[in-house]
Symmetry: C2
Subunit: 249 residues, 2 copies
């Protein structure tokens, strides 16, 4: 007697839309518990499995949290599902990685600008720590890649932007892998060690100086140089070219 008007749409759609509307119009607020599955099913005139499908869908969206034997509550939105998405999407479309890297550059370049405005002492310290670790792990591809990644993440965190952070984090799986493989080039190009250390230091300095424009330029150049190394590795130019470029820089 309550839901037969909501025809046309499938059961799942009905439940999903119903819940979405409740979330959008503020009827369901963060931290609140929503109806029990059974009650929801009864009220919407669908079966419980259908309700569960809709809840699972919202759960994947990072909007609700399903606590076993407790209930379903609205949680702080969390885009961690993007991680799964990027990972799976990449598996289907391997060529996507360069594309994602471009998006990552977008995120970080904006982040470094905001970081110049908003970074706190704690952010500086985190950046500093990452910087030190980059120096310490310069000869270790694994730890080095991890340190490199931490530095870049520290930049994003320093931007104090949850959205940028979550987007960056979503790409982390890919980024981490990329950082690591780039680190393996260190064996090939001896000048890379100083590049890795000095260039990150430069980026750090510009953030400390709070000059957004220069920070972005520096970071872009940092990416460009890294790309250049990778390009050279692909085209087969090795140590020989290395010597020249080392003094050229």
């Amino acid at each position: 007697m309550e839901t037969q008007d909501a025809d046309s749409a499938s059961g799942f759609e009905r439940v999903f839309v119903y819940l979405r509307e409740r979330l959008l119009d503020g009827t369901l607020k963060q931290g609140e518990r929503l109806m029990a599955e059974r009650e929801l099913a009864l009220q919407l005139g669908v079966s419980r499995p259908i309700v569960r499908e809709a809840l699972r869908a919202l759960h994947m969206l990072g909007i609700i949290e399903i606590r076993e034997r407790v209930g379903t509550i609205v949680k702080r939105p969390d885009a961690s599902m993007l991680k799964d998405f990027f990972t799976l999407a990449l598996a289907q479309q391997a060529d996507l990685i360069d594309d994602v890297m471009e998006a990552r550059i977008a995120i970080e370049c904006q982040a470094v600008r905001l970081a110049c405005e908003r970074a706190t002492i704690a952010d500086f310290e985190r950046l500093q720590r990452a910087l030190v670790r980059i120096g310490e792990t310069i000869d270790d591809a694994d730890a080095g890649g991890s340190a490199d990644f931490d530095f870049h993440r520290a930049i994003v965190l320093a931007s104090r932007s949850p959205t940028l952070a979550v987007l960056h984090e979503s790409m982390s799986t890919l980024l981490a892998r990329s950082h690591r493989s780039r680190r393996e080039l260190v064996q090939q190009f001896s000048s890379m060690k100083s590049y890795l250390i000095d260039d990150h230091k430069r980026v750090f300095d510009t953030i400390v100086s709070r000059d957004a424009d220069r920070a972005e330029v520096t970071l872009r150049r940092h990416f460009a140089i890294g790309d250049e190394y990778r390009r050279r590795a692909v085209t087969g130019e090795g140590d020989r070219v290395e010597a020249r470029s080392a003094q050229g820089t």
Copy 2:
């Protein structure tokens, strides 16, 4: 006799992980159909509703497509669920909108750079069309906001980056609303008309000139000016200030 071996994880988790692995290791490729729900349930030793939950979850991730009475197929990854996410996330955290706007700026600034490298004639034409529409709809908040949005979307499309496009698109709901509300300021600030027309034109010109650095600077300034108008509107400065600023610019 079927499930006790698959320990620890819940039924849903088992199915989800199973499918994810298949997708990651290439066993399931794009366009392929996966097992029927019943068969999947039988093989994994879970009930069909559980299988359906997992399929629904993957569907939300934009990885698979469920065709009624036909089957479930692996499709080209599609991040359109981000739209739902941002919309719902914003409803829960209204303060997130400025944050999302910053992410949007990140996307567009990178996009405009790439557009300078990659834009085709078709992209220029699309930008041009949007530009014309901005001029035509300058007095209409609705159509004007839409035209404005189209222009910015055209920039992202010109970047030829699927990832940037999908991220931008995900924020479209919020952006569209924001563009519209900004357009209402036109009534308040007469100088906004020329700003809207000239500034977009300037951005367009820099893209045509394929000067990435200048394009980004121009676009950033474009955003900054828009922000400035909004700031003034919030602080209550209206037409009075307007006259001065008009000649000041």
